[in-house]
């Protein structure tokens, strides 16, 4: 068994203005340097769970968290649900990066897009920024396409390139965990396979949690899979076991496409 990097303990989440929780007592381990896939039909709460892991929900007021989400590091564990101060939120998000469904390039040059997070993190040294941007673009497999136009607008890139740029932007911060929220559902098959390849290379350095609707993607990419249904975690196991030999009937029905 590999090491834990994050785990949720009896974690429940209720959206503002709603009575019933959208996530009910979720207990999910996230293993270090592995890819964990969250699957399940629309509305099952997988994106909600993912968005709790860097507390992006806190952009909107009055959402309710219960239980624990522990983030492990060399200094022990920290329950991220206890974070209250803006500075601690910023640190959390530097440790836990996020990629969205639609590419979200900022309206600035390719270079500045990647440098932006570094500047937010307080990196001032020009040569260091230069180096880290270049490394991030290289490890996101987009350096060759962008090196000659680093200072042109990122909005002129294709969707797939933009998504890889967003990954580079997150990678530049050297996060411990990266959360992917259906990162390829807005992309064509060729860009999708480029992103998938990239994600599986990334796990050398970073733990990955990916929400996906695409069963093949989950089985191709991930080491562990969690199946969620109506706010409950139904089953969690190694991906090959989940796909070959699920314990729950519900999981089997979903994976074989009987519903969803």
């Amino acid at each position: 068994m590999s090491k834990l990097i994050m785990e949720t303990k009896d974690f429940s989440f209720t959206y503002a203005g709603v009575d019933t929780p959208s996530l009910k007592k979720i207990n999910l381990p996230i293993k270090e340097s592995k890819i964990t896939a969250l699957i399940g039909p629309s509305g099952c709460g997988k994106s909600t769970l993912l968005r709790a892991m860097n507390r992006i929900h806190d952009l909107y007021p009055n959402n309710k968290y219960e239980g624990e989400i522990n983030l492990y590091s060399a200094n022990g564990k920290e329950n991220i649900l206890n974070i209250k101060k803006e500075n601690d939120f910023i640190k959390l998000r530097q440790r836990v990066g996020m990629i969205f469904q639609k590419p979200t390039p900022f309206p600035m040059s390719i270079f500045d897009n990647v440098a932006y997070g570094l500047k937010l993190a307080g990196v001032k040294d020009k040569t260091e920024i230069q180096e880290r941007v270049e490394n991030a673009l290289k490890s996101s497999a987009i350096w060759n396409e962008t090196k000659d136009r680093l200072h042109t607008s990122a909005l002129g890139m294709s969707g797939g390139q933009q998504q890889r740029l967003c990954i580079a932007r997150a990678v530049a911060l050297k996060p411990e965990i990266m959360l992917f929220d259906e990162p390829t559902s807005a992309l064509d098959p060729i860009s999708t396979s480029a992103i998938e390849e990239l994600i599986s290379e990334l796990k050398e350095e970073v733990s990955v949690v990916i929400v996906t609707h695409n069963m093949q993607q989950a089985s191709r990419l991930s080491d562990y899979t969690a199946f969620m249904y109506l706010g409950d975690l139904i089953e969690y196991d190694k991906t090959d076991i989940m796909f070959m030999n699920p314990k729950e009937k519900l999981t089997e029905d979903y994976i074989t496409g009987r519903f969803g």
């Binding site: 952009l59 007021p61 998000r93 996020m98 969205f100 979200t104 932006y116 997070g117 937010l120 932007r169």
Partner: protein, 269 residues
């Protein structure tokens, strides 16, 4: 057969309506150009109203409109940012949004009267500041609504992406969200400037008018639009000719600003 006939009738009616509408516009432009251009001389721009030119009027009108913009643009933008980014759809926000929309269609003469009561009567006379305040009041709701609407077009994922990279909310709003909405907001500012530069009613009894060149905002202040209103009612031919050329110049200014605004929107990425 019936459907085709109906189609033709509707097509004809709508074409006709469009032609009628547009022909009035061209009629106005043609008359203005014809009557206005012929009475423009070099002295029109080099002399003040007292000597039969409009130099002081142009300077006065722009001075008031620019200072009004300097007040209204930041105020309106911050209000718009609060409405869209910080209010979280509270009740207060929807009241303010509605009020601002109502203000946008408030008759400009009413704004003039209001400012007269507050900033002219108590100070014992017309003054440039009062005119500036009236123009700013007209402009603020337009800026609020433009900012609000343009920020609404920025996808929420962009804000989330910024925050997910470790940005604080205000940094993301100032450095990314506003930047994405920049073209739209700038266009809105230009169009609202074009709107107030051509206003007469809010100035009529706030800053009133002056025949002389002045930069003293505590006195009556020269205004192109109010002068057109006055000159057009004078009996002598020279005054009326000056009114025509002043109208032509004003229209040209408004048209150029408007076209610039629209050109910018069209070329945005």
């Amino acid at each position: 057969m019936n459907r085709l006939l109906l189609n033709k009738i509707i097509l004809m009616l709508s074409t006709l309506s469009a032609i009628i509408g547009i022909s009035f516009l061209f009629w106005i432009l043609a008359t203005l150009t014809y009557k206005g251009v012929s009475s423009i001389h070099l002295s029109t721009f080099s002399q003040d109203l007292v000597n039969g030119g409009i130099r002081n009027l142009l300077v006065g009108q722009f001075t008031m409109a620019i200072i009004a913009s300097l007040i209204a643009v930041p105020l309106g933008m911050f209000a718009g940012i609060w409405l869209r980014e910080y209010s979280n759809g509270s009740k207060l926000a929807s009241i303010i949004r509605n009020l601002s929309d109502v203000m946008m269609s408030a008759p400009s003469i009413v704004i003039g009267v209001f400012v007269y009561a507050l900033f002219v009567a108590p100070f014992g006379g017309y003054n440039g500041f009062a005119g500036i305040i009236a123009l700013a009041i007209m402009m603020i709701p337009i800026i609020i609504s433009t900012t609000d609407n343009m920020l609404a077009l920025v996808p929420k994922e962009l804000r989330e992406a910024g925050v997910a990279l470790g940005g604080s909310k205000h940094k993301i709003i100032l450095q990314i969200v506003i930047k994405s909405a920049k073209v739209g907001i700038t266009t809105g500012v230009l169009l609202s400037f074009a709107r107030i530069i051509g206003e007469t009613a809010p100035l009529l009894f706030t800053s009133a008018n002056s025949q002389f060149f002045t930069m003293d905002l505590t006195e009556q202040f020269p205004s192109l639009t109010v002068s057109i209103y006055n000159l057009a009612t004078y009996p002598d031919e020279a005054s009326r000719e000056l009114a025509w050329s002043a109208s032509f110049i004003l229209t040209a200014i408004v048209l150029i600003i408007n076209l610039t605004g629209r050109y910018m929107t069209r070329n945005k990425k």
